[in-house]
Structures are given as structure tokens and as C-alpha cells.
């Protein structure tokens, strides 16, 4: 377990360019901790831009910088230093471990709330960045990791053949726009909301609960609910029909009544049927038909948008 990178060598003063990534890391951590502790009502996009790097990259990047202060391939001994891509991968992996680990620590002494967790993450990030800075300064200048140099190396050759470069940039831009627009379309509903139609009865505590086989057949009062959150202020009609159940089918069908209801601002409407049914020897079928607007002249299950059925007796 030797540590070949940390060794006595010519010491150079830290330069701004060599520590730009660490300054940015510390800055992002502090901004996240301070801004979110002030509890300002930030727009979601701004909030996301502050919080997501803090959760996914920043603390891990600082820890990787502390663990591996040298640049990849700048000397025979630094070949093993991770290149930029590996640093990013490790940064993401470590970040999603560090943030909840800080959360567990905070939970042990406090309560698991956002501000102390972000403060803890910022503290870890700053501490790791200081260690990274110290370790970098102990390396010869040309062996130090410099994010700017790594990015420049990654972009090397980008200026050759400007036409294909232009094509690539255009393709990337178009693709990014297409992906963004697709995300918006995918998260936008199709506008065709769900319309629910159900029967409730009074529960043991007096509240309305979904009817069950133990309650619905005994009740003479049926409470119907129409719920369509995407269609507030919409007029529906409920048609109640009965029939007598015989061995050959349902006979003596008749309409008991029609009730027009309009959904409220939250898309819910309720109506109650107080039934005075003539309970003979044969069981009765009660069907509630739901229509948007007015019902047709001959309401049936087939032309209703929704229907419910209760058997009584």
C-alpha cells in the first residue's frame, strides 16, 4: 500500500488554473448549502441546476481529486492516474454514496432534514478539496491534474475539418432540442383524463366509503360519485333503471329517474338516489348509467359512458 504520488518533490505554488475545478466545486457546494438554507422560493429549473450537481457530481469529484491529485500520463509514474472520463464516473458513483452517508450521520444526531444534510455535504466537499489542493501542490507542476488541460486534450483535433465539425455540432444541437422537446411532450398528458363512476355507502365512522357487498344491498340510499379531475365544470347525467331478475333474464325494465350533475372545480360530482323500491319475491336489478351531457332517448348499458349495477333482494 505504498503511495508513490505523495512524495517529496519540488513544490510549486498553487495556480488559479490548476485549482479552478476545485474552486468551482467548493463554490457549487457553498451555493447549494446557503441558497437552500435560506428557503427562497426558487423556480424549479434554478433549484434543479443548484441541487442536482450537488447530489450527483460535486462531493464525489472533490474526493476523487483528493485521492488522485496527479494528471494522467504526464510521467511514467502517473500513467495510472485516472483520466477525465474515469474521474467523472467515479465522481458520480462516490457522490451518490457520500450524500446519503452524510444523511445517515445527520439522522444519528439530528433529524433527517435537507439543510443539515447539504451543510454536511458542503463540509465534506470543502475538506476533500483542501486535501486535493494540498496534495496537488506537493507534485511537480506538470504532473498535477488540471481539469482545463484534460478538457483541452479531450477536445484536441476539434478544429480540424471545419465542415464536418459544423455538421457534428448541428447534429448535436438538433438532437438536444429534439430530446428536450420529446421530454416535454412525454410528460404532458394527452388531455383525455380518467372518468370514474362509483357507488359509496356510509362507513362505520360516518364517512362515505366504497360500497361493499355487505352494505350495498341493504341500503335504500345510494350515493353515486362521478370523478373526472381533468374535466371540471362538466355536465353529466345519471339515469337509474330497474328490472326484475327472472330465470329467463331481466324483465319489466323501467327508468326510475334522471339526474343532471356538474363536476366541481376538482372534477368531482355527487348525487344521491333515495330508492323506494317495491321489493317483491324476485330480486331486482338496479343499473346506473352515466352520460356526458344529455342521455339518448333509449338509455342502455351499451350507449352509456360508464355503468354500475346493484342487485337487491
Amino acid at each position: 500500500m505504498s503511495d508513490r504520488t505523495v512524495r517529496s518533490s519540488s513544490v510549486g505554488a498553487p495556480s488559479l488554473g490548476g485549482a479552478l475545478d476545485l474552486a468551482l466545486t467548493v463554490g457549487l457546494a457553498l451555493i447549494g448549502a446557503v441558497v437552500l438554507s435560506l428557503q427562497i422560493g426558487l423556480p424549479p429549473v434554478v433549484r434543479g441546476a443548484i441541487v442536482l450537481p450537488l447530489l450527483l457530481v460535486v462531493p464525489g469529484y472533490a474526493v476523487v481529486a483528493a485521492l488522485f491529485p496527479g494528471a494522467h500520463g504526464t510521467s511514467p509514474t502517473s500513467v495510472v492516474e485516472p483520466p477525465l472520463v474515469e474521474r467523472l464516473g467515479l465522481a458520480v458513483g462516490l457522490s451518490i454514496a457520500i450524500v446519503p452517508a452524510v444523511g445517515i450521520g445527520v439522522d444519528a444526531v439530528w433529524s433527517l432534514t435537507l439543510v443539515p444534510v447539504l451543510d454536511g455535504v458542503a463540509a465534506v466537499t470543502i475538506a476533500a478539496s483542501v486535501v486535493a489542493l494540498v496534495r496537488r501542490t506537493r507534485l511537480p507542476i506538470r504532473e498535477r491534474f488540471r481539469a482545463t488541460a484534460a478538457i483541452q486534450a479531450a477536445l484536441r483535433g476539434a478544429h480540424d475539418r471545419p465542415k464536418t465539425q459544423l455538421f457534428l455540432l448541428t447534429a448535436v444541437l438538433l438532437s438536444v432540442v429534439a430530446i428536450g422537446a420529446s421530454g416535454v411532450v412525454a410528460t404532458t398528458g394527452d388531455g383525455q383524463g380518467v372518468t370514474e363512476f362509483y357507488l359509496t355507502t356510509e362507513g362505520p365512522d360516518g364517512q362515505q366509503v366504497l360500497a361493499t357487498n355487505e352494505t350495498v344491498g341493504n341500503e335504500s340510499v345510494h350515493r353515486l360519485v362521478v370523478r373526472s379531475p381533468d374535466a371540471p365544470q362538466t355536465r353529466y347525467t345519471v339515469v337509474a333503471r330497474t328490472g326484475v331478475i327472472t330465470t329467463s333474464g331481466v324483465t319489466d325494465r323501467q327508468t326510475l329517474g334522471r339526474t343532471a350533475v356538474t363536476t366541481g372545480p376538482r372534477g368531482t360530482a355527487r348525487t344521491t338516489y333515495d330508492l323506494a323500491l317495491d321489493r317483491g319475491e324476485r330480486p331486482i336489478e338496479l343499473v346506473y348509467l352515466l352520460y356526458e351531457g344529455d342521455p339518448p332517448a333509449e338509455p342502455t348499458r351499451n350507449n352509456a359512458v360508464r355503468w354500475l349495477r346493484v342487485q337487491i333482494g
Binding site: 462516490l94 455538421f167 448535436v172
Partner: protein, 640 residues
């Protein structure tokens, strides 16, 4: 060029491995006459053919790499990259307009994936740009996963409902981990805490927070696979390994069904990247800390992930001990055994205080293993979740063989190249402790995934091992492709690699494990996602159901949403003597046109049922939203 001996062995290690492979293929081949299970039918011949191809190429004893290089394309890689990037953008548009990952979307994603693999294989060294290719790999991974996430209402999968709507929600509302003090995630809460912190930080719900944070982190973890590959091979093969990993069915699965397993996979990748550094000669304390940190994080996230990491670290330790016997120079490598020991202590320590059922996790695990050994283990005892069953990769019982084969084609393609690479990595010139660890790890993980279930031993949940197994498999497959380029004639190698590039992405894309939101063979494999109507019914039942009401009966997996959201106690519909007779049933149209799982004569199976079978015409029909209907029997009604 000729090499016959390696290390202390009397023969070259690759010849020893290929002989073992051929013997295994011969021994396992007759099993096809005892079981019709697809993997038993296909894997032994695949192993045999791959070993024969290896022997053929090895004994031709010619070096073809330079000839292959001359056939590579010297075109500007940015043109191909630009076209592929446009394809990725088009894919996103297609997903949004289709409203999900439909068959055209999956086919198109396969084409884009093939374009990426083709660039990796065909472009010459000057045109090959790792940065551009990584952007394409990540872009495709993000679009494929987010199309599923954003077009699916609610959550994808089964366990996600418990982790988010139960555990994470409880932690968030109580602002304390004490909320999950009674469950096994008390000692493995990293996933839940991260999601809660993300939700509070972003000011959104748990679902959105999960998708915005881990939904991004999971595809980005592919960078760790690339980094590991780059420690083993040249850039080209590291890119190939990363691309294969990102496109693999089970890896996509944990990118859309985001639970602790998903995060465990990221930490597993990180630990392997560190272990590869160590084995590659970076023996600094930093590398040890890296593996230790990811190892502890894995143990604090997910029990199965930690166990799998333990197995791989154990393999690495064993390979290091055997290095002088096998091949390769292990003298520069850092020691893995201290990390294996540390991980073992951490895992055992945590498991001994992890509450599980009425005991602790380690005790229950030992009891379960003993029970399995005593009751269900037996050769070819494939009952239960076999590799082909719900937890595995192939078709379920009763699935037509053509569909099961098409579903598993991606895995078979990868497996063939992995066998080739697994043998090739033992060749002295290729061998290193790290490559040997990955080759052996792929084999050992395959034993846990396929071998133990062959004996009816499913205690270690083999279905969860696939994605982890794909890490060494993707890397070893890259080694297999490199071997093909070096040792097969350019024409043969080109044909083989093109076939691989054309088949693998599309075949992986259509596997049902990678498409839980909308499987291609939707009458064979259940859909683990729900539409607005189905979720509205669950929510209404949750908010209006009386506590005293009877449990409901519906299909699997729909019943799991009722249970895991706390809407209602729910059981599977049972068909007995051709009839479904329950007090309260929930019918959804999916039961008549999808792949619902119901109990038929005491056995769970995929079977469609009609609306009138479930909601009989004589029942009360008390709730409907057009798609979902709740019915209750008339028995027990006063006066009935």
C-alpha cells in the same frame, strides 16, 4: 507465436480452459433430452462451438490484426457520429410520439445501437474518437431509459412501489430513519436517504426526484465500465465493453425499475474499477480506499449486491493466489485479500444486526439456505423461479420456443462472444490478474445465475445477478472481439463482428426484462407498468375503502400495487374448475389482452381471462372507470 505452457502448468492455461469448456459442453449436452428449458437446450452447444472456434483460430497461429486494420474505415468519425446523434434525437421524438417504448421504438433503438457498435468496430484508430462514442453511448442510454420513465404513469416494476411509496415516503414524513426500523433496509438505507434528500432539495415528489437524480446517475455509471475496460484493453475494446453493458437488457431494466439494486450496481461498478486499478499495479492507498468505499456503500445499499461483490472480490483474491500457477505476472498487483476480508466483515456485521422477519438477516439467510437444501434441491428441479422464470432471462413456462428464443437471442449472442473471450483472456500474452479475474468472475456469476437454479436452488435470487454478471461479461466479450480481430482471417472476423454489431443491440432491446414497461411479446410476459385508469382505480380504492372490507382479488402484478401502496390487501385471482369465485374482484382490460398471472389449479401461470369470467354478470358492479371495474358477489346480502 506458438505457446504451449504457462506458469507452473504443464499446458498453456487457455488450452486447459478450452478443454474444460469442451468437456462441460459434452457433459451438459444430453440434458436437452431431460428438460425442454431453453437455456439447457442452447447454452451447452454455444459453449462447445465457441471453444471449437477458439481452437481453430489458435492453431492457425497467424497474426491478422494488421490485415484487419487495413480494412477499417478511415473516414472522418464525426460524420458517422453526427448521423448517429441525429438518430438518437429522432429516437426521442419517436418515443414521445408513440407514447412509450413501442416495437418501432425498440427496433429503431437497435439500429442506433448497431450504428454505435459498427463505429467502434470499423473506424480506424485515427477516426475513432472515444469522447464522441461515449456521448453516443450515454445519449442512447438516456433516451431509452427516459422514454420508459417519462411515458409511464406511476412507477415501473414491483419493488419500486414499496421502496418509494412506503419506505422513502415514511422516512420523508417522519424525517428519520426510525421510520424503517423494522425492515431489512434499516441497515441498507442509502437509496432511500438519497431519494428523500433529492426530493427535499428539488422540492418535488419522490418519483420525480428519483428520476431526476438516479435516472441520470445510472446511465452515467457506464463511464465506470469504460474506465475499467480502459484499464484492461485499448480504447476501442473498452468502448465496446461499455456499449455492450449500456445496451444490455438487465442493465436497462435497473435503469427503469429504479430501486436499491440499481444503486448497488453503480457501487459494484465503482468497486470493480478500483479493484482493476489495484490488480493493474496501482497499489497506492487511494486505490484501496476506492474499493473499500464502494464496498461499504454497496453493503449499505442492498444485501444481494453486497453478496455479489463479495463473490467477485473472492474470485479476485483466489485468482491472485493462483496467478503463479495460471499465467501472467501478478507481482505488481495490489493485494485484494484485505479488501475481501474487510467487505466480508462489513457485510457479516451489518447482516447480524439487520432485522428480517422475526429474526436477523444472517440467521434467516442460513435457515433459508438449509431449508432449500433440505426441501427443494435436486438435479433438474427447475420448479420455482428458474433462469427462465419470473426472475430470470428466458421465457416462462408455456412460452412458445420461438418467442423464448427471440427473447433470449441477445443474451445468447453475448454469451457466445464471452466464451470466446473468456478462453482468450487466459492466453499468456493476454493474461493479467485483472483479465483473469473478469473471465473467472463471469463464469462464477454464471454458475450462481444458471448452475444453482439447475438444481432447484433459487435462494440467492438468480434473476438479480444478471445485471452484475453483465459487467464482467461485457468486458470479457470485448476481449473476445479483440481475439477475433487478431486471430481470425479479416473476412471472417469482419463478418462475425458485423453480425455481433447488428444482432446484439436489437436483440437486447426486445428482451422482456429490459422492457418491463411494455414488453414486445406482451401476451407472453407481464407488463410491470400501469396506465392512468389503472392507477386512478388504485388511488380511489385506497382513499375510499372501508378498513373492514374484504380483501380484493386481481391479477399479478396489478395486485402488488394495491398491496404496496396500502390501498387494500390483495390476492391473485384463482381459477378453480374453470371458474373464478371471489367476493371482491378487480377486473382490468389487461386481463383479457395482456399477460396477467393468475392461479390456475394452485399454480401461478400466465392466462388471459374475460371480463365476464372475473366480473360475473350477477355480481354487483360498484366501481368503474372504463378500463377497471370493481365487482362484489351478491352473497351475504340481506334478503338474498
Amino acid at each position: 507465436m506458438a505457446e504451449t505452457r504457462g506458469g507452473l502448468l504443464p499446458v498453456a492455461p487457455d488450452l486447459l480452459v478450452v478443454t474444460a469448456g469442451l468437456l462441460l459442453a459434452v457433459v451438459l449436452f444430453p440434458l436437452r433430452f431431460l428438460s425442454g428449458q431453453l437455456f439447457i437446450q442452447v447454452l451447452p452447444p454455444l459453449v462447445g462451438v465457441a471453444c471449437l472456434v477458439y481452437l481453430f483460430a489458435r492453431y492457425r497461429d497467424r497474426e491478422y490484426e494488421r490485415a484487419f486494420e487495413q480494412r477499417r474505415l478511415g473516414t472522418d468519425g464525426r460524420v458517422a457520429a453526427g448521423l448517429t446523434v441525429l438518430g438518437i434525437g429522432g429516437l426521442a421524438v419517436l418515443g414521445a410520439t408513440e407514447g412509450g417504448r413501442t416495437v418501432p421504438f425498440l427496433a429503431a433503438s437497435g439500429v442506433v445501437g448497431s450504428a454505435i457498435l459498427a463505429q467502434i468496430v470499423l473506424l480506424d484508430d485515427e477516426a475513432l474518437s472515444p469522447g464522441l462514442l461515449l456521448v453516443q453511448i450515454l445519449g442512447l442510454a438516456v433516451v431509452v431509459r427516459y422514454t420508459a420513465l417519462l411515458t409511464t404513469p406511476g412507477l415501473v416494476g414491483v419493488d419500486s412501489w414499496t421502496h418509494l411509496t412506503d419506505y422513502a415516503a415514511a422516512i420523508r414524513s417522519e424525517e428519520s430513519l426510525a421510520a424503517i426500523a423494522d425492515v431489512k433496509y434499516r441497515t441498507a438505507p442509502l437509496f432511500h436517504v438519497l431519494v428523500v434528500v433529492a426530493a427535499d432539495g428539488l422540492g418535488v415528489g419522490l418519483r420525480t426526484a428519483t428520476y431526476a437524480s438516479l435516472g441520470v446517475a445510472l446511465p452515467l455509471a457506464t463511464l465506470l465500465c469504460y474506465a475499467t475496460g480502459h484499464l484492461l484493453f485499448e480504447q476501442r475494446w473498452a468502448l465496446l465493453g461499455a456499449a455492450v453493458f449500456a445496451m444490455s437488457d438487465h442493465v436497462v431494466r435497473w435503469g427503469v425499475h429504479i430501486i436499491p439494486t440499481s444503486v448497488g450496481l453503480v457501487f459494484f461498478l465503482g468497486a470493480l474499477a478500483g479493484a482493476t486499478r489495484l490488480l493493474g499495479g496501482d497499489t497506492r492507498l487511494s486505490s484501496y480506499l476506492l474499493v473499500a468505499a464502494f464496498g461499504v456503500a454497496t453493503a449499505l445499499t442492498h444485501q444481494i449486491s453486497a453478496f455479489i461483490l463479495l463473490v467477485v472480490l473472492g474470485v479476485g483474491t483466489a485468482v491472485q493466489l493462483l496467478a503463479p500457477v495460471l499465467s501472467g505476472d501478478g507481482s505488481r498487483s495490489g493485494a485484494l485479500w484485505p479488501l475481501f476480508l474487510l467487505e466480508t466483515c462489513v457485510v457479516l456485521g451489518l447482516w447480524s444486526i439487520t432485522p428480517y422477519r422475526d429474526s436477523v438477516f444472517i440467521t434467516e439467510l442460513i435457515d433459508t439456505v438449509q431449508r432449500s437444501l433440505a426441501t427443494s434441491v435436486g438435479f433438474l428441479n427447475l420448479a420455482g423461479p428458474s433462469p427462465a422464470g419470473p426472475g430470470g432471462g428466458g421465457g416462462g413456462a408455456g412460452t412458445p420456443i420461438q418467442i423464448a428464443f427471440a427473447d433470449a437471442l441477445g443474451f445468447f449472442t453475448l454469451f457466445f462472444v464471452v466464451v470466446l473471450g473468456g478462453v482468450a483472456l487466459f492466453r499468456r500474452r493476454n493474461a493479467s490478474p485483472a483479465t483473469a479475474m473478469y473471465a473467472v468472475a463471469a463464469g462464477v456469476l454464471a454458475v450462481f445465475t444458471f448452475g444453482l437454479p439447475l438444481f432447484g436452488f433459487n435462494t440467492f435470487l438468480p434473476g438479480r445477478w444478471y445485471a452484475f454478471m453483465y459487467v464482467p461479461m461485457a468486458l470479457v466479450a470485448a476481449g473476445g472481439c479483440r481475439f477475433a480481430v487478431r486471430n481470425l482471417s479479416p473476412r471472417t472476423a469482419m463478418a462475425g463482428l458485423l453480425m455481433f454489431a447488428l444482432v446484439l443491440p436489437g436483440a437486447m432491446a426486445l428482451n422482456h426484462k429490459g422492457t418491463p414497461d411494455n414488453p414486445v411479446f406482451d401476451e407472453e410476459f407481464p407488463t410491470y407498468a400501469y396506465d392512468e385508469s389503472e392507477l386512478a382505480a388504485v388511488e380511489t380504492v385506497r382513499t375510499t375503502r372501508a378498513d373492514s372490507a374484504d380483501p380484493i382479488y386481481t391479477d399479478h402484478p396489478y395486485r402488488t400495487v394495491f398491496e404496496r401502496t396500502g390501498a387494500a390487501p390483495a390476492n391473485m385471482l384463482a381459477v378453480e374448475d374453470g371458474e373464478i369465485v371471489h367476493d371482491t374482484v378487480v377486473y382490468r382490460q389487461y386481463q383479457s389482452r395482456g399477460a396477467p398471472v393468475v392461479v390456475v389449479d394452485n399454480t401461478s401461470q400466465t392466462r388471459q381471462v374475460s371480463q365476464t369470467e372475473v366480473c360475473r354478470p350477477t355480481m354487483h358492479r360498484l366501481y368503474t372507470n372504463g378500463d377497471v371495474t370493481v365487482c362484489t358477489g351478491v352473497d351475504g346480502i340481506d334478503g338474498a
